[in-house]
Symmetry: C2
Subunit: 210 residues, 2 copies
DNA sequence: ATTAACATACCAACTGGTCGGTATGTATGA
DNA sequence: TCATACATACCGACCAGTTGGTATGTTAAT
């Protein structure tokens, strides 16, 4: 029984995610979610004590899946290469392939969405979004620091700056992707960032050429 | 009397802009706007034939102000320098100063906001947002092409890619700025982008040093 | 005297949320 | 083992408040 209940909860969350991603949080009504799942008010308020509670659970659920994916990509990249620059490059190309893969539209980032509707959310939720973005950034920082320690950058650069840069480029890419309905935009940003890295760490490029 | 009417319309739009920027479009009710302006339903529906119509007028109004600002920055930069690289750099630093200036929070980009709530808007509005972003990008493309024509890039680069890159970085920066409540994030993205340009166009940097 | 520019009163539909009820599970004890 | 006792999972009617929108004023400028 508990397994079926969890399945129901995830059905609600999955439907909510799709709706929220295309209509926003305030624009998505509880009834919308119920229509999409063929469930009723009773079910909804059994699993969530309010709509705001759903928002919180939805964000945690989303972040969990999101972070797991990134960690998997990173672990694979680290297993495949010893050199941190190689690891980073593979991570980014893997991510680009994932973005290019014609999976379930509409694409977008729920952190960004919550950020642009933040008046509706409790400080807990806003803090969680910020923390998650920080964790994401921190993953990059660690890797960039390894690269910087190994290869002198052609111009002064900090790991933090580079990490924030790629995160911003991805977020911005997703916006352009939605606005233009052009599925390739985000991956192109990642590609362009790799171009920058090649220029910034010339000795890493030479090493590979050798 | 017509002047007073236009003033009322702008009062409504200005209030709507602030509210929409912090609560989203669906999250902002007509009553919210009226409460903020001390006006009534009669006034609102005299100026806008529906809430959706307000959304459209709001976007046009916003884009007009936005584009005017960018054109002003660009005109100033072009008046101050002959070299396109110098023009570009001043444009970016001017923009950074504007972003850093502690003006009216909350910061953010209405194009991004509409993009993340696009289910509520007519195709007209969505198309307009896309067109405006394209126009913004096209301004950069023109300038980057001038730079590329003059200084050979250290690695293959197209004006279009670079233009999309800076637009994405700004959009992403604004998201991080909101999420972290850190007013400096967006300007930092622009700075970092200039760092990239210095690397990409080394001969331009040499020319300046000489 | 018209008309533009607003105010006021009101409406049907929808909003998030509650509540009593039911069916189906699970734990316990004799 | 099998009835008792309770908990979980869900249903659907209902509620008060809010939503966008309208119909009918009133006032003031042209």
């Amino acid at each position: 029984m508990r397994a079926k209940a969890e399945a129901t909860r995830e059905r609600l969350l999955a439907a909510a995610k799709n709706l929220v991603m295309s209509k926003g949080f305030a624009g998505t009504s509880v009834d919308d979610v119920l229509k999409a799942t063929d469930l009723t008010k009773g079910a909804f308020f059994h699993h969530f004590k309010s709509k705001a509670d759903m928002a919180e659970q939805l964000m945690h659920w989303y972040a969990e899946g999101d972070m797991k994916m990134f960690r998997t990509f990173m672990a694979e990249a680290e297993a495949a290469h010893d050199d941190p620059m190689d690891q980073l490059m593979q991570f980014l190309t893997d991510f680009e392939n994932y973005l290019t893969d014609p999976t379930n539209p509409p694409k977008g980032c729920m952190y960004a969405l919550y950020t642009y509707e933040d008046d509706h959310f409790e400080n807990d939720v806003k803090g969680f979004v910020a923390d998650t973005l920080q964790t994401w950034t921190a993953m990059y920082i660690r890797k960039f620091q390894e690269v910087i320690d190994l290869y002198p950058p052609a111009r002064p650069a900090t790991a933090k700056r580079l990490a924030e840069m790629i995160v911003a480029m991805i977020e911005g890419g997703l916006i352009l992707e939605r606005a233009y309905k052009n599925p390739g935009m985000t991956a192109r940003q990642s590609e362009q960032f790799r171009e920058y890295l090649e220029l910034l760490f010339p000795t890493a490029a030479e090493r590979k050429a050798a």
